[in-house]
Amino acid sequence: MAQGASFPYEQVAEIGGGAYGTVYKARDVESGKFVALKSVRVQTDQDGLPISTVREVALLKRLEQFDHPNVVRLMDVCAIQRTDQETKVTLVFEHVDQDLKTYLEKAPVPGLPPDRIKDLMRQLLCGLGFLHSNRVMHRDLKPENILVTSQGQVKLADFGLARIYSCHMALTPVVVTLWYRPPEVLLRSSYATPVDIWSTGCIFAEMFRRKPLFCGESEADQLGKIFEVIGLPSEEEWPKDVTISRKHFPPLFPRPITDFVPEMDEQGAELMLEMLTFDPLKRISALNALEHEYLKEEETPDTERESVAVP
């Protein structure tokens, strides 16, 4: 890690905040390009940085060596010692100046063409499959951290940070959106890679609808909204030892997903349901989703992707 002697990045605006520190849009004054700076303050002792931080940063650097097209580049890591007890670790990421939220908002009526949605989904799942095969979970996938370049290339951002932060942050309540959270997280029962697939299913629906699928205002409300679509799971499926009881919810039957996402074809609907499956163990994986009939046909060659007009 660089020890902060030369730090060629100049902050230009704050673009995110939280319990862990602030995220900045900054400019690399040498190349002129924008970057995203993400800092975390960690406690240090005579042995230096905590081993957990070193390990997580090493993992991110290892991922970087694969140069995967669908995740943002990690360009630099800097550690600046603040005091005897505190060091600020700054991760410097490539900054893509458009997110999926903005991309969907600017698509002309009636929204993105079906082939464009398919291409975005392929790239999104490809990035996710890569992270999952390297045992990295995103945990907070949403349209704001799925970036889309001017050429329509998808790049996932903010992955692998959850663990770095959670190791060190005081558990300050931060306002985070519930809309892309899976049932198992809302019920606090388990957290593994299927978490990201649920979020991807929600985002898949949003690509067609151009508005979120489940807009809950509290954790219970979020679950209620989910069950209005997928139905109330059976008693056997309900996880054991969770704080929210199944009896809390009305007995709802599943409704056709096409009632909520009308423009979608049959194969798309099938894949979406495989992603929006209540039981995380039965939910489709990123790699299997890529093999699904909906995404399988007519691979778009890279050369063609370059020429796809931005809506």
């Binding site: 902050q11 605006a13 002129g32 390009k33 997110d99 903005t102 908002e105 600017k106 001017s150």
Partner: protein, 124 residues
């Protein structure tokens, strides 16, 4: 945090509703945040809605970065956002502005291989 800090952040995150709201509350569309930048300088370059809103409200298009001399048109061209390039020009951005490396917007687009942006800027 001043209103101008918030306005710059809203612009940088492509939050059109937030920009609208802050302008209504009296944030200065040409004011700088604590890093000395205007909202147009730091906006999410792909957000045509934010670009148009700021420019319609009188944002000056040719403010250059104090360290690199980069204008918003340089940034939009370097990132390949043809739609934003067009909006900036509609509001009188200078297409031949030079940054501290003596580059014009078209040079940055060419360097990154954004043929559509190059063709458009050369056709002016």
């Amino acid at each position: 945090m001043t209103l101008e800090d918030d306005l710059a952040s809203a612009a940088a995150t492509g939050n059109t509703a937030g920009v609208e709201d802050l302008l209504r509350k009296g944030a200065d569309v040409n004011g700088v945040n604590k890093y000395g930048r205007t909202p147009l300088q730091v906006m999410m370059m792909g957000s045509t809605a934010v670009a148009r809103l700021l420019l319609t409200r009188g944002s000056r298009p040719n403010v250059a970065d104090r360290s690199t001399g980069t204008t918003p048109l340089h940034d939009a061209a370097r990132e390949g956002f043809l739609d934003t390039v067009k909006i900036l020009l509609e509001f009188s951005a200078n297409p031949v502005a030079v940054d501290n490396s003596n580059c014009q917007p078209v040079d940055l687009a060419r360097e990154r291989g954004y043929g559509d942006v190059v063709a458009f800027l050369e056709s002016l």
